[in-house]
Amino acid sequence: MWCRSKRAWAWAVLASTIAGATLRAEVGVGDRFPSLQDAGLSEGVLPEVEGRVLLVDFWASWCAPCKASFPAFARLHEEFGVRGLAIVAVSVDEKRAAYAAFVKKLAPPFATVRDAGHSLASAVGVPAMPTTYLVDRAGRVRFVHRGFHGSASERELRAQIEALLAERG
């Protein structure tokens, strides 16, 4: 009886673990990043990403670290854009006006789009705001950075971008 009960618990724990893991699936390192073209993004224009290293940043106008990250992404865009880096900043703002005011104020030199329905954010399973994904030329996620911690984050992203750009496509 004790043995059967033990087995029942083992099954229960296994099932609940699988259920939890399935529901909290996040796109991580090694996974293929969902297509931006098919994600139903609005407001902005997507850059050509084929054969380029892609930086996808999820942000919102109500998120203070996101605001702090934009100048850093502008510097990365300026430095690595010509070498094959494409930056797409995906806003999860529900209010179009909030998105537009933020973009107008910061005037980023890289592409910004809005995921109004949160379909891409849900598909990716964004774990924090902001979260930055670095995708290699083959479309695989190679680095995930949660939050933005000033120069330390910029340094880390710069090193990862350098390494990805050095790889042959």
Partner: protein, 72 residues
């Protein structure tokens, strides 16, 4: 075995329910709204502070020395 399957199913649905009620990071716009701040009303904040340091005066309230009478 049947009991194990029922238990497994019940626990799976319970845990699954717990994971889906979580407010996702991209859904927190309302939480950052000005109206959600606890210090948005200066008068209410001052009153709460006064109550706090009066009640906690034995340890000086929020870093302010006091006698404990609540009159300062």
């Amino acid at each position: 075995m049947k009991a194990a399957a029922i238990l497994a199913g019940t626990m799976a649905s319970m845990f699954a329910g717990c994971t889906t009620v979580r407010v996702q990071p991209w859904e927190r716009a309302a939480l950052t709204d000005y109206g959600m701040r606890t210090d948005r009303d200066p008068l209410a904040t001052a009153a709460a502070e006064h109550t706090y340091f009066s009640r906690e005066s034995a340890t000086g309230g929020r870093g302010v020395g006091g006698s404990g009478c609540g009159c300062n």
